[in-house]
Symmetry: C2
Subunit: 201 residues, 2 copies
Protein backbone atom coordinates (compact mmCIF):
# COMPACT_ATOMS: atom_id res chain seq x y z
CA UNK A 1 0.00 0.00 0.00
CA UNK A 2 0.93 3.65 -0.40
CA UNK A 3 0.94 6.38 2.24
CA UNK A 4 0.76 9.95 0.95
CA UNK A 5 2.47 11.79 3.76
CA UNK A 6 4.34 14.95 4.75
CA UNK A 7 7.31 14.42 7.05
CA UNK A 8 6.63 17.27 9.57
CA UNK A 9 2.91 16.41 9.83
CA UNK A 10 1.70 14.97 13.12
CA UNK A 11 -1.35 13.64 11.30
CA UNK A 12 0.95 11.72 8.96
CA UNK A 13 3.08 10.62 11.90
CA UNK A 14 0.07 8.99 13.59
CA UNK A 15 -0.15 6.54 10.69
CA UNK A 16 3.62 5.97 10.53
CA UNK A 17 3.65 5.22 14.27
CA UNK A 18 0.81 2.67 14.17
CA UNK A 19 2.25 0.96 11.06
CA UNK A 20 5.62 0.73 12.86
CA UNK A 21 3.94 -0.91 15.88
CA UNK A 22 2.19 -3.36 13.57
CA UNK A 23 5.27 -4.01 11.40
CA UNK A 24 3.26 -3.35 8.23
CA UNK A 25 5.32 -2.35 5.13
CA UNK A 26 4.28 0.54 2.90
CA UNK A 27 5.53 2.90 0.24
CA UNK A 28 5.74 6.48 1.56
CA UNK A 29 5.17 9.32 -0.91
CA UNK A 30 6.18 12.78 0.32
CA UNK A 31 3.65 15.55 -0.45
CA UNK A 32 4.47 19.06 0.81
CA UNK A 33 1.06 20.38 1.78
CA UNK A 34 2.55 23.74 2.78
CA UNK A 35 3.83 24.10 -0.82
CA UNK A 36 0.43 23.33 -2.37
CA UNK A 37 1.27 19.77 -3.44
CA UNK A 38 -2.10 18.46 -2.14
CA UNK A 39 -3.90 20.82 -4.53
CA UNK A 40 -2.61 19.41 -7.84
CA UNK A 41 -5.24 17.91 -10.17
CA UNK A 42 -3.79 14.41 -9.63
CA UNK A 43 -3.95 14.69 -5.83
CA UNK A 44 -7.47 16.20 -5.85
CA UNK A 45 -8.63 13.36 -8.11
CA UNK A 46 -7.53 10.97 -5.33
CA UNK A 47 -8.67 13.05 -2.33
CA UNK A 48 -10.86 16.07 -3.12
CA UNK A 49 -10.35 17.33 0.44
CA UNK A 50 -6.67 18.00 -0.38
CA UNK A 51 -5.14 16.55 2.78
CA UNK A 52 -2.45 14.14 3.85
CA UNK A 53 -2.26 11.51 5.18
CA UNK A 54 -4.11 9.57 2.51
CA UNK A 55 -3.67 5.81 2.18
CA UNK A 56 -4.17 3.85 -1.04
CA UNK A 57 -4.67 0.15 -0.33
CA UNK A 58 -3.36 -2.54 -2.67
CA UNK A 59 -6.79 -2.86 -4.33
CA UNK A 60 -6.81 0.88 -5.10
CA UNK A 61 -9.20 1.88 -2.30
CA UNK A 62 -8.46 5.43 -1.11
CA UNK A 63 -8.76 6.14 2.62
CA UNK A 64 -8.07 9.70 3.89
CA UNK A 65 -8.33 11.13 7.44
CA UNK A 66 -5.58 10.19 9.88
CA UNK A 67 -7.89 8.92 12.60
CA UNK A 68 -10.00 6.82 10.21
CA UNK A 69 -6.77 5.28 8.91
CA UNK A 70 -5.73 4.48 12.51
CA UNK A 71 -9.09 2.81 13.12
CA UNK A 72 -8.81 0.75 9.92
CA UNK A 73 -5.38 -0.68 10.70
CA UNK A 74 -6.08 -1.13 14.42
CA UNK A 75 -9.21 -3.27 13.98
CA UNK A 76 -8.41 -6.82 15.11
CA UNK A 77 -5.23 -5.73 16.93
CA UNK A 78 -4.59 -4.72 20.57
CA UNK A 79 -4.48 -1.06 19.47
CA UNK A 80 -8.31 -0.95 19.24
CA UNK A 81 -10.13 -1.79 22.50
CA UNK A 82 -12.07 -5.07 22.68
CA UNK A 83 -15.14 -3.74 24.50
CA UNK A 84 -17.81 -1.68 22.76
CA UNK A 85 -17.81 1.15 25.31
CA UNK A 86 -14.01 1.31 25.24
CA UNK A 87 -13.99 1.54 21.43
CA UNK A 88 -16.45 4.44 21.71
CA UNK A 89 -14.27 6.14 24.34
CA UNK A 90 -11.20 5.77 22.10
CA UNK A 91 -13.14 7.44 19.27
CA UNK A 92 -14.41 10.09 21.70
CA UNK A 93 -10.83 11.14 22.35
CA UNK A 94 -9.96 10.96 18.64
CA UNK A 95 -12.84 13.31 17.78
CA UNK A 96 -11.72 15.55 20.67
CA UNK A 97 -8.26 15.55 19.09
CA UNK A 98 -9.51 16.66 15.68
CA UNK A 99 -12.01 19.25 16.92
CA UNK A 100 -10.64 20.66 20.19
CA UNK A 101 -6.88 20.00 20.07
CA UNK A 102 -5.36 19.85 16.56
CA UNK A 103 -6.92 23.13 15.29
CA UNK A 104 -5.07 25.01 18.04
CA UNK A 105 -1.98 23.03 19.02
CA UNK A 106 -1.00 21.70 15.58
CA UNK A 107 -2.02 24.84 13.71
CA UNK A 108 0.02 27.12 15.99
CA UNK A 109 3.07 24.85 15.55
CA UNK A 110 2.66 24.90 11.77
CA UNK A 111 2.27 28.68 11.65
CA UNK A 112 5.32 29.23 13.88
CA UNK A 113 7.29 26.99 11.48
CA UNK A 114 6.01 28.87 8.41
CA UNK A 115 5.37 32.48 9.52
CA UNK A 116 5.60 33.79 5.95
CA UNK A 117 2.61 31.73 4.80
CA UNK A 118 0.10 33.09 7.34
CA UNK A 119 -2.84 34.94 5.80
CA UNK A 120 -4.36 38.05 7.48
CA UNK A 121 -7.39 35.94 8.45
CA UNK A 122 -5.07 33.42 10.13
CA UNK A 123 -3.07 36.22 11.78
CA UNK A 124 -6.28 37.45 13.42
CA UNK A 125 -6.77 34.02 15.00
CA UNK A 126 -3.25 33.72 16.46
CA UNK A 127 -4.01 35.50 19.78
CA UNK A 128 -6.86 33.09 20.53
CA UNK A 129 -5.05 29.82 19.83
CA UNK A 130 -2.84 29.59 22.96
CA UNK A 131 -5.89 29.83 25.26
CA UNK A 132 -7.85 27.22 23.31
CA UNK A 133 -4.86 24.89 23.03
CA UNK A 134 -4.20 25.22 26.77
CA UNK A 135 -7.82 24.24 27.43
CA UNK A 136 -7.32 21.03 25.40
CA UNK A 137 -4.16 20.26 27.40
CA UNK A 138 -6.09 20.83 30.66
CA UNK A 139 -8.78 18.36 29.56
CA UNK A 140 -6.05 15.81 28.78
CA UNK A 141 -4.26 16.49 32.08
CA UNK A 142 -7.46 15.79 34.00
CA UNK A 143 -7.96 12.44 32.23
CA UNK A 144 -4.31 11.43 32.66
CA UNK A 145 -4.23 12.36 36.34
CA UNK A 146 -6.97 9.74 36.84
CA UNK A 147 -6.11 7.09 34.22
CA UNK A 148 -2.81 5.95 32.63
CA UNK A 149 -4.20 6.10 29.07
CA UNK A 150 -7.25 7.50 27.25
CA UNK A 151 -9.32 4.33 26.78
CA UNK A 152 -9.50 0.75 28.06
CA UNK A 153 -6.71 1.36 30.59
CA UNK A 154 -4.06 0.65 27.98
CA UNK A 155 -2.20 2.12 24.99
CA UNK A 156 -4.57 2.41 22.00
CA UNK A 157 -5.06 4.49 18.85
CA UNK A 158 -6.54 7.23 21.06
CA UNK A 159 -3.08 7.67 22.61
CA UNK A 160 -1.41 7.59 19.19
CA UNK A 161 -3.82 10.26 17.89
CA UNK A 162 -3.24 12.57 20.87
CA UNK A 163 0.49 11.93 21.27
CA UNK A 164 1.29 13.04 17.71
CA UNK A 165 0.86 16.78 18.26
CA UNK A 166 0.97 16.88 22.08
CA UNK A 167 4.59 15.78 22.41
CA UNK A 168 5.69 18.60 20.08
CA UNK A 169 3.28 21.20 21.55
CA UNK A 170 6.36 23.10 22.75
CA UNK A 171 7.08 23.94 19.10
CA UNK A 172 3.80 25.89 19.15
CA UNK A 173 4.74 27.76 22.33
CA UNK A 174 2.96 25.55 24.89
CA UNK A 175 4.83 24.76 28.11
CA UNK A 176 4.29 21.05 28.83
CA UNK A 177 6.03 21.38 32.24
CA UNK A 178 2.69 22.74 33.48
CA UNK A 179 1.10 19.33 32.81
CA UNK A 180 2.87 16.63 34.86
CA UNK A 181 0.34 13.89 34.06
CA UNK A 182 0.75 14.57 30.33
CA UNK A 183 4.55 14.43 30.66
CA UNK A 184 4.34 11.09 32.48
CA UNK A 185 1.98 9.73 29.79
CA UNK A 186 4.38 10.89 27.05
CA UNK A 187 7.02 8.77 28.76
CA UNK A 188 4.69 5.75 28.79
CA UNK A 189 3.87 6.22 25.09
CA UNK A 190 7.54 6.47 24.14
CA UNK A 191 8.31 3.26 26.06
CA UNK A 192 5.86 1.22 23.93
CA UNK A 193 7.49 -1.54 21.83
CA UNK A 194 8.05 -0.41 18.26
CA UNK A 195 7.85 3.32 19.05
CA UNK A 196 9.41 5.56 16.39
CA UNK A 197 9.99 9.33 16.64
CA UNK A 198 8.18 11.88 14.48
CA UNK A 199 11.25 12.78 12.43
CA UNK A 200 12.14 9.23 11.37
CA UNK A 201 10.50 8.88 7.95
CA UNK B 1 -29.92 6.91 29.90
CA UNK B 2 -29.57 10.68 29.84
CA UNK B 3 -28.77 12.92 26.88
CA UNK B 4 -27.43 16.37 27.72
CA UNK B 5 -28.53 18.29 24.66
CA UNK B 6 -29.29 21.74 23.24
CA UNK B 7 -32.32 21.91 20.95
CA UNK B 8 -30.81 24.06 18.12
CA UNK B 9 -27.57 22.01 18.05
CA UNK B 10 -26.97 19.86 14.98
CA UNK B 11 -24.46 17.85 17.02
CA UNK B 12 -27.20 17.09 19.55
CA UNK B 13 -29.64 16.37 16.72
CA UNK B 14 -27.35 13.66 15.31
CA UNK B 15 -27.87 11.66 18.50
CA UNK B 16 -31.62 12.36 18.65
CA UNK B 17 -31.97 11.19 15.04
CA UNK B 18 -30.10 7.90 15.53
CA UNK B 19 -31.93 7.15 18.79
CA UNK B 20 -35.24 7.80 16.96
CA UNK B 21 -34.26 5.34 14.22
CA UNK B 22 -33.34 2.77 16.87
CA UNK B 23 -36.40 3.42 19.04
CA UNK B 24 -34.23 3.79 22.14
CA UNK B 25 -35.79 5.75 25.02
CA UNK B 26 -33.83 8.43 26.89
CA UNK B 27 -34.20 11.40 29.20
CA UNK B 28 -33.27 14.65 27.44
CA UNK B 29 -31.76 17.43 29.54
CA UNK B 30 -31.62 20.85 27.87
CA UNK B 31 -28.34 22.73 28.34
CA UNK B 32 -27.99 26.12 26.63
CA UNK B 33 -24.35 26.14 25.57
CA UNK B 34 -24.71 29.65 24.13
CA UNK B 35 -25.72 30.84 27.63
CA UNK B 36 -22.72 29.22 29.34
CA UNK B 37 -24.64 26.30 30.82
CA UNK B 38 -21.91 23.81 29.77
CA UNK B 39 -19.40 25.76 31.90
CA UNK B 40 -21.01 25.27 35.31
CA UNK B 41 -18.95 23.30 37.87
CA UNK B 42 -21.47 20.43 37.74
CA UNK B 43 -21.30 20.17 33.94
CA UNK B 44 -17.49 20.44 33.85
CA UNK B 45 -17.25 17.69 36.45
CA UNK B 46 -19.12 15.45 34.00
CA UNK B 47 -17.43 16.67 30.78
CA UNK B 48 -14.37 18.88 31.22
CA UNK B 49 -14.52 19.79 27.54
CA UNK B 50 -17.79 21.70 28.19
CA UNK B 51 -19.76 20.43 25.20
CA UNK B 52 -23.10 18.90 24.37
CA UNK B 53 -24.17 16.34 23.39
CA UNK B 54 -22.98 14.26 26.31
CA UNK B 55 -24.59 10.91 27.11
CA UNK B 56 -24.69 9.32 30.57
CA UNK B 57 -25.42 5.60 30.34
CA UNK B 58 -27.48 3.79 32.97
CA UNK B 59 -24.30 2.59 34.73
CA UNK B 60 -23.07 6.20 35.02
CA UNK B 61 -20.54 6.02 32.17
CA UNK B 62 -20.12 9.43 30.52
CA UNK B 63 -19.68 9.53 26.74
CA UNK B 64 -19.22 12.93 25.01
CA UNK B 65 -18.59 13.75 21.32
CA UNK B 66 -21.55 13.42 18.96
CA UNK B 67 -19.83 11.15 16.46
CA UNK B 68 -18.45 8.80 19.14
CA UNK B 69 -21.98 8.56 20.56
CA UNK B 70 -23.30 7.69 17.08
CA UNK B 71 -20.67 4.97 16.75
CA UNK B 72 -21.53 3.53 20.17
CA UNK B 73 -25.25 3.20 19.52
CA UNK B 74 -24.81 2.07 15.89
CA UNK B 75 -22.55 -0.89 16.69
CA UNK B 76 -24.46 -4.09 15.99
CA UNK B 77 -27.16 -2.29 13.97
CA UNK B 78 -27.50 -1.58 10.22
CA UNK B 79 -26.41 2.03 10.86
CA UNK B 80 -22.75 0.93 11.16
CA UNK B 81 -21.34 -0.87 8.07
CA UNK B 82 -20.56 -4.59 8.34
CA UNK B 83 -17.28 -4.54 6.43
CA UNK B 84 -14.04 -3.27 7.95
CA UNK B 85 -13.20 -0.93 5.05
CA UNK B 86 -16.74 0.45 5.03
CA UNK B 87 -16.60 1.16 8.78
CA UNK B 88 -13.35 3.05 8.18
CA UNK B 89 -14.93 5.01 5.31
CA UNK B 90 -17.90 5.93 7.51
CA UNK B 91 -15.46 7.23 10.14
CA UNK B 92 -13.45 8.99 7.43
CA UNK B 93 -16.54 11.08 6.59
CA UNK B 94 -17.33 11.64 10.26
CA UNK B 95 -13.83 13.02 10.88
CA UNK B 96 -14.23 15.12 7.72
CA UNK B 97 -17.47 16.44 9.21
CA UNK B 98 -15.86 17.51 12.47
CA UNK B 99 -12.68 18.98 10.96
CA UNK B 100 -13.59 20.33 7.50
CA UNK B 101 -17.37 20.94 7.64
CA UNK B 102 -18.78 21.71 11.11
CA UNK B 103 -16.22 24.46 12.00
CA UNK B 104 -17.43 26.49 9.00
CA UNK B 105 -21.02 25.50 8.20
CA UNK B 106 -22.28 24.99 11.76
CA UNK B 107 -20.27 27.83 13.24
CA UNK B 108 -21.51 30.35 10.67
CA UNK B 109 -25.12 29.25 11.33
CA UNK B 110 -24.64 29.65 15.08
CA UNK B 111 -23.06 33.09 14.73
CA UNK B 112 -25.81 34.31 12.40
CA UNK B 113 -28.35 33.13 15.01
CA UNK B 114 -26.47 34.86 17.85
CA UNK B 115 -24.71 37.90 16.32
CA UNK B 116 -24.42 39.65 19.68
CA UNK B 117 -22.24 36.90 21.14
CA UNK B 118 -19.47 37.04 18.50
CA UNK B 119 -16.05 38.04 19.85
CA UNK B 120 -13.67 40.25 17.82
CA UNK B 121 -11.49 37.18 17.15
CA UNK B 122 -14.52 35.36 15.78
CA UNK B 123 -15.57 38.41 13.76
CA UNK B 124 -12.18 38.34 12.04
CA UNK B 125 -12.85 34.77 10.90
CA UNK B 126 -16.32 35.42 9.42
CA UNK B 127 -15.10 36.45 5.92
CA UNK B 128 -13.18 33.17 5.54
CA UNK B 129 -15.93 30.76 6.61
CA UNK B 130 -18.16 30.86 3.48
CA UNK B 131 -15.26 29.82 1.25
CA UNK B 132 -14.20 26.99 3.55
CA UNK B 133 -17.77 25.81 4.05
CA UNK B 134 -18.37 25.84 0.29
CA UNK B 135 -15.28 23.68 -0.17
CA UNK B 136 -16.74 21.10 2.22
CA UNK B 137 -20.01 21.12 0.28
CA UNK B 138 -18.09 20.64 -2.99
CA UNK B 139 -16.30 17.59 -1.52
CA UNK B 140 -19.69 16.17 -0.47
CA UNK B 141 -21.24 16.96 -3.88
CA UNK B 142 -18.48 15.04 -5.62
CA UNK B 143 -19.05 11.97 -3.43
CA UNK B 144 -22.83 12.11 -3.81
CA UNK B 145 -22.68 12.56 -7.58
CA UNK B 146 -20.96 9.16 -7.68
CA UNK B 147 -22.57 7.28 -4.76
CA UNK B 148 -26.01 7.47 -3.11
CA UNK B 149 -24.57 7.61 0.44
CA UNK B 150 -21.19 8.18 2.11
CA UNK B 151 -20.23 4.59 3.01
CA UNK B 152 -21.26 1.02 2.22
CA UNK B 153 -23.75 2.16 -0.43
CA UNK B 154 -26.44 2.68 2.18
CA UNK B 155 -27.65 5.05 4.92
CA UNK B 156 -25.25 4.92 7.90
CA UNK B 157 -24.06 7.11 10.77
CA UNK B 158 -21.82 8.93 8.26
CA UNK B 159 -24.98 10.26 6.60
CA UNK B 160 -26.51 11.16 9.97
CA UNK B 161 -23.35 13.04 10.97
CA UNK B 162 -23.22 15.02 7.71
CA UNK B 163 -26.97 15.58 7.32
CA UNK B 164 -27.29 17.33 10.69
CA UNK B 165 -25.68 20.64 9.69
CA UNK B 166 -25.83 20.28 5.89
CA UNK B 167 -29.61 20.37 5.63
CA UNK B 168 -29.70 23.68 7.55
CA UNK B 169 -26.62 25.14 5.82
CA UNK B 170 -28.96 27.77 4.33
CA UNK B 171 -29.29 29.24 7.83
CA UNK B 172 -25.56 30.02 7.62
CA UNK B 173 -25.91 31.67 4.22
CA UNK B 174 -25.00 28.70 1.99
CA UNK B 175 -27.10 28.16 -1.15
CA UNK B 176 -27.80 24.42 -1.40
CA UNK B 177 -29.41 24.85 -4.84
CA UNK B 178 -25.84 24.91 -6.19
CA UNK B 179 -25.43 21.28 -5.07
CA UNK B 180 -28.01 19.04 -6.80
CA UNK B 181 -26.47 15.76 -5.61
CA UNK B 182 -26.56 17.00 -1.99
CA UNK B 183 -30.21 18.05 -2.39
CA UNK B 184 -31.13 14.59 -3.77
CA UNK B 185 -29.27 12.92 -0.88
CA UNK B 186 -31.11 15.12 1.66
CA UNK B 187 -34.33 13.75 0.16
CA UNK B 188 -33.10 10.17 0.55
CA UNK B 189 -32.09 10.83 4.18
CA UNK B 190 -35.47 12.36 5.02
CA UNK B 191 -37.26 9.34 3.51
CA UNK B 192 -35.56 6.92 5.94
CA UNK B 193 -37.95 5.12 8.31
CA UNK B 194 -38.02 6.82 11.71
CA UNK B 195 -36.66 10.14 10.46
CA UNK B 196 -37.34 13.09 12.78
CA UNK B 197 -36.70 16.78 12.04
CA UNK B 198 -34.12 18.87 13.91
CA UNK B 199 -36.68 20.96 15.77
CA UNK B 200 -38.65 18.07 17.24
CA UNK B 201 -37.12 17.65 20.70
Amino acid sequence: MKLYDYAPSGNGYKVRLLLAHLGLPYERIEVDSNAGETRTPAFLEMNANAKIPTVVLDDGTVLPESNAILYYFAEGTPYLPDKRIDRAQALRWMFFEQYSHEPYIAVLRNWLHHPDSITPEQQARVPDLPRRGAHALEVMERQLAAEPYFAAGRYTIADIALYAYTHVAGEGGFDLKKYPAILAWIGRVEAQPGHVPLDRV
